[in-house]
């Protein structure tokens, strides 16, 4: 979560920000199986934009085309400069992956040196979300172009979260390339997705050796 915020120039949270008004492109949820003491189990689920497929809930509802699904990379990109701040996309997203700038982003004096020059900070009143560290994608593409190559080298482009996770819980790669590790993992028996029945076709896959986790993912909660 921290590396994501640092990489993408997310401003430090305001004093009055709560867990519902803070900006966390990647957010880790502790989830338990709800069982009593002896059989109690819990996991940590990193939730981020699921980069939905063709029927993205957010792309179709934005009134000014400020969200785009890039057919080449499959990434759902947000254009903060065009965003009106109507928050319709946030209502549409079932994964709660979108965050709104309820405050003017402010960096305390002296912390501006931490800003990443490859990523534009957003202004107050616009929505934002994970875009698979687009800045890094651009860097990799620039490097490939400088070397005269058409495609980027797979190792050159990795989002901050995957790069920094010490437990190697996040794996990133080309889903379309069948030989890649992500592709192999997505097809394993332990793979699952969240809310598959909604027809969002996310490109994020999760794997778990625990059956209760896999079963939980498809269910709509009963309160």
């Amino acid at each position: 979560m921290v590396s994501c915020a640092v990489e993408n120039n997310v401003a430090p949270a305001e004093r009055k920000a709560s867990e519902r008004t803070g900006v966390t492109w990647l957010r880790v949820y502790p989830v338990s199986n709800g069982e009593p003491f002896a059989t109690h189990d819990m996991v940590y689920i990193p939730m981020t934009c699921q980069q939905c497929g063709e029927h993205t809930p957010c792309v179709s509802v934005c009134p000014q085309n400020a969200v785009e699904l890039d057919p080449a990379t499959g990434i759902v990109a947000q254009i903060p400069q065009r965003c009106l701040g109507c928050r319709y996309c946030m209502t549409a997203c079932p994964y709660h992956a979108r965050y709104f700038n309820w405050w003017d982003p402010q960096w305390p004096k002296g912390t501006e040196v931490l800003l990443n020059p490859d990523v534009a900070p957003r202004m107050r009143g616009v929505a934002e979300k994970c875009n698979f560290c687009h800045g890094r994608l651009h860097t990799a593409r620039t490097k490939a172009a400088a070397e005269g190559k058409r495609d980027i080298a797979p190792g050159d482009y990795i989002p901050a979260c995957a790069e920094s996770c010490p437990a190697r819980a996040i794996v990133f790669g080309d889903l379309a390339d069948e030989s890649s590790e992500v592709s192999r993992l997505s097809r394993s028996n332990e793979a699952f997705q969240f809310l598959p029945k909604l027809g969002t076709a996310p490109k994020l896959f999760y794997t778990s050796s625990k059956e209760w986790v896999r079963n939980m993912a498809g269910k709509v909660p009963t309160t």
Partner: protein, 409 residues
Amino acid sequence: MDRQFIPRGLQRSTLSQFIAWLLPWALMLGIGLYATYLCLAEGLHHTNMDNRFAFGLWIYLDLTIIALGAGAFFTGFLLYILRREELKAVINSAVVLGLICYSGAVAVLMVDVGQPLRAWFTFWHPNTHSMLTEVTFCLTIYLTVLLIEYVPVVLKNRRLRQVPRFLVFEFELHKVMPVFAGIGTFLSFFHQGSLGGLYGVLQGRPFAYREVLGIWPSTFYLFIISAAAAGPSFVLLTTWLVQRLTGKQLVKREVLSFLGKVSGSLLIVYVLLKAIDTLYWINHTAPDGGAPAYTFYASQSFGLWILFTEIVLLGLAPAAVLLSRKLRERTGALVGAAFLACCGIMLNRFVMTIQTLALPTLPFDAFMSYVPSWQEVATFLAVVAYGVLLYSLSFRYLNLFPQERDIRQ
């Protein structure tokens, strides 16, 4: 002192009494404007909306007042297109109400979005698949149409009409009014529906998502019919309220009865269609999205009672009363039923906005709650105050109720 501006033959309170009436509303408006300033200058963190409750009181308010303001287009449609001449008695009042509702809604919308100065982007980069784009286009033009319909009412002010240019212009505008009434009806059809479509297309929220009929979800059509049902009831209600507050009879009794009958007829159609839609949703759409429908009503605050209230208590019951000629004769029943009908529509908008967002979507989500902040409430009240002020000024200086003079004699 301002008698020369008050329409001839009508009796209005003294200027000091009038100002005394206006002052508290002006104060309410002032407080709301301050709250608006806070939100515009410092950010929307002044509201209690958050990343889970991205739509709050303001969006609910917008939907509600647009639904109630549908009386303007529907009365215009009945009068100018279907030639129901009895509605001449309330058309001016309906136009003012419509103007208040829509201008108030647009004003609140400008505060609600994070970057109001970018509002024109929707016109420059329209996403024709989005319901909100459709709403934006329609509302902008419709507000213009309402202003054009308001101008003749203003120009017929006692002093203004003495300017020959104004009176002739008003005369010519009135001759082409059916065109504007037709456009208003056409536009209203789309934006009332699109506001319903806003929720019907949310495939990520199985509670709100509805199957598509043609190119729009069923909520599109349901919202149009419910707005058309609420409109006449709201006009009825406000006319009665103004009559009570001013102690004058402003329209002949048959006009109110007629409005009630129209509202009741549409309401019963709406209740029937809504019941069919709900049954279909319970049996097909919701389970297809991954959850049986009862799970959405499992919480205490939004139990099944809300569905029952919306369809039966605030839908079927007032419709039955409004359709009964005998009950329409009794003012208490007529006005009460109209009030319940409006409440039913308000509840429907509430359920679609607030309940949709309160319900969890991810398996490990919790049920969310939301209470508006004082800034949100103040802004909401400011719109109400603005409405009262504009209506009061219009009532005093313009001829909102043509039958008033004849009734007085």
